[in-house]
Symmetry: C2
Subunit: 197 residues, 2 copies
């Protein structure tokens, strides 16, 4: 079975994945919610976007998430797991797993990204692992050579500032191969294979 470790992210045309000043209470930064509109607006998600998401997530068995994303996201997610999948959160804080009703658990992993990824792989079995973010998780996954694909939703807007998708000094020269493109009116979805040296 070929298991894919992939990162999914929405990026502005000028390369930002959040707006400026992202923090608890303003989790996507100033203007950053624009990047996720294709997911959540209008109230009924358009069929092409829903299909894209369903197809992508149907192959996923577990999720790895950074501690910062968890801290910023928990409030807008209503204190619950935003994925209908087991999530492993890379954090420095010891916590019991977060379980709400029938939601799959969010498990806190304090010994680093590699450990969280190993747990996610075991849980996923023959299914894929999604690296959900944030920036430091993408960077770590790329830098340590475990990332197979990055799937970008390129949003047709200039955000004007914020958190860049990639940390330039570390990753300069990294090449990708475009695998598939799906052009929708509200986003251009591009799946890239990570080229390993």
């Amino acid at each position: 079975v070929q298991v894919t470790i992939w990162a999914g992210v929405s990026v502005s045309l000028d390369g930002f994945m959040t707006g400026l000043d992202d923090r608890v209470g303003n989790p996507l930064g100033t203007g950053g919610e624009r990047l996720h509109r294709w997911l959540f607006e209008p109230a009924a998600i358009p069929r092409p976007n829903r299909d894209l998401l369903d197809n992508a997530f149907s192959e996923v068995g577990a999720v790895v998430m950074g501690g910062r994303m968890f801290d910023l996201g928990l409030e807008p997610w209503g204190g619950t797991n935003p994925f209908n999948l087991p999530v492993f959160v890379v954090t420095h804080r010891e916590n019991e797993p977060l379980v709400n009703g029938d939601d799959p658990p969010m498990t806190f992993v304090t010994d680093g990204f590699d450990s969280a990824l190993a747990m996610a792989r075991t849980t996923a079995g023959a299914k894929d692992v999604l690296i959900a973010g944030g920036a430091s998780m993408y960077e770590t996954a790329l830098r340590t050579g475990v990332l197979d694909e990055i799937r970008i939703a390129l949003i047709p807007v200039i955000l004007g500032g914020g958190r860049p998708l990639f940390d330039p000094p570390v990753l300069a020269g990294q090449e990708f191969e475009p695998l598939r493109v799906n052009d929708q009116p509200d986003a251009t979805h591009i799946e890239y294979r990570v080229i390993r040296p």
Copy 2:
């Protein structure tokens, strides 16, 4: 006749149109030549790219270029007009038009972008006008509301630094509508309509 004013640019996945330290002698910045490989490499340009270029340029009647792009480009262009089209260069320096053999002239315009664009429009007649760059030309064209389309070749590489395509503070919130996508192995070509407020 519908005349289109469009900007064409190659951009890295992290949003840069040149590498760091772009200057005379290093016109595309460190690593920046990677962004133009789809145009110039291998020695025989692949057919899909050649067709893309031919189709785009067959509709163009004149080009507007910034003075900095001219200064940096002249040496790599061998001291000649790199386009087989009349070019209007926005500059502060008075110069006679540059004419080499049968090349269309490069005319130097000292009273600003608007004036150069007006001259390019007149020369182009019923054909399109290409804003060839650099960054300040794109920004001026967007900011002054004259740009109809921007056609991006998204190159699957992290450049890690350089000159961003857009000047964030000026253009934050600018929206685009994807018109056409042409996915090639070495670049994802996306044509955007500029949304006017």
